[in-house]
């Protein structure tokens, strides 16, 4: 409410605002703001609630309006990345008073379709009022409570309808949503091929690893047994031809080498006994 005033002497017309009442867009914004805070308070938008999207969805559900562009963009992008994609489309009103209940029903219907493990909710750009159904409390709750993950691709980048916040993932365009819900088939095949290669090399690698471990244990065992014998007071006597086992293999005056537990001796044979 305001009061106009004319100051004739100064040639001014004034409009003085006395009270401010929410009306039109302002009232809508205030309502949405309130709803946002209430739902956020319930934890509906919490990141802990967000579920991961399937890497390889069996069936993708698309809930969209009858505008050709969003649907075409999505289907084109999905099939380009992943030709084998299975898509089931539900068309609903996406604007006007019937949109919110219609979208909610479509969501409930499509989730019952066999094999659907991700849902994409999409609508092209529009005015603030056009996108209002996507901030409807029933729909927002249905998105948050949906048994399969939901991707919201509503309006343009700058729009944030509440279903965007409640969804498990959001995309700025139907094309971006497609990239979120299907893998690139080429990449998928490449990854599989790499795994196949690693799988085939793995057994040899494993055997080599085991052999190396065995060799090292065997080496340690050899040193250990030989060392422990020396430690008990034995000695190893060697000549140029190897380990000396019998006195007849050596003659007086010959040089011998004696290995002890610690250190060794270079010696000469004085006398041999049988």
């Amino acid at each position: 409410m305001g009061r106009p005033g004319l100051l004739a002497a100064r040639g001014e017309f004034r409009l003085r605002a006395l009270t401010i009442e929410p009306l039109g867009l302002g009232a809508l914004l205030a309502g949405i703001d309130q709803l946002t805070r209430r739902l956020a308070g319930e934890g509906l938008f919490a990141s802990a609630r967000k579920r991961p999207l399937p890497l390889f969805p069996r069936r993708i559900a698309l809930v969209t309006g009858n505008e050709a562009a969003a649907k075409r963009d999505f289907v084109t992008a999905v099939t380009a990345r992943f030709p084998a994609a299975q898509i089931v489309i539900a068309q609903t009103y996406v604007q006007g008073p019937r949109a919110a209940p219609d979208l909610t029903t479509a969501l409930a219907d499509i989730v019952r379709e066999p094999g659907v493990d991700v849902i994409v909710l999409t609508r092209g750009g529009g005015s603030f009022e056009d996108l209002l159904p996507f901030s409807d409390e029933r729909l927002v709750r249905a998105v948050a409570g949906c048994p399969v993950p939901v991707v919201s691709a509503v309006g343009h980048e700058q729009d944030t309808p509440l279903c965007d916040l409640a969804a498990d993932a959001r995309a700025s365009t139907p094309t971006a949503a497609a990239r979120l819900v299907v893998p690139d088939e080429g990449e998928l095949r490449e990854r599989l091929r790499a795994l196949r290669g690693r799988l085939d090399r793995a057994p040899l690698l494993l055997v080599e690893r085991k052999r190396a471990a065995l060799d090292s244990v065997a080496g340690r065992l050899r040193t250990l047994s030989h060392q422990s014998t020396l430690a008990r007071g034995y000695a190893i006597v060697r000549t140029d031809t190897g380990i000396l086992r019998t006195s007849s293999s050596v003659a007086p005056g010959e040089r011998i080498d004696v290995e002890l537990a610690e250190g060794g001796l270079a010696a000469r044979v004085e006398e041999t006994r049988r």
Binding site: L55, A84, V88, Q91, T105, L188
Partner: protein, 68 residues
């Protein structure tokens, strides 16, 4: 192979088997069984990619009918 397993689960299990074999954590006795399972998983994933056929269905008409 059990068809209840998803592509994703199969691929993840394959990755786990490969790194288990590469990491040398498996015994030689287990390695054979692991390799066979890995081979099976690889074939399963590839089969899923090869056999899948794209399909686009409209559910719109049913929703139209359901509308008063």
């Amino acid at each position: 192979m059990n068809d209840a397993i998803t592509f994703e689960e199969a691929q993840r299990e394959l990755e786990r088997i490969v790194s288990q074999l590469e990491g040398g954590r498996a015994s030689l006795e287990d390695a054979v069984a692991l390799w066979e399972r890995g081979d099976e998983l690889y074939r399963y994933c590839l089969g899923k990619l090869d056999s899948a056929e794209g399909k686009i269905e409209e559910l719109g008409s049913r929703i139209e009918e359901a509308r008063p």
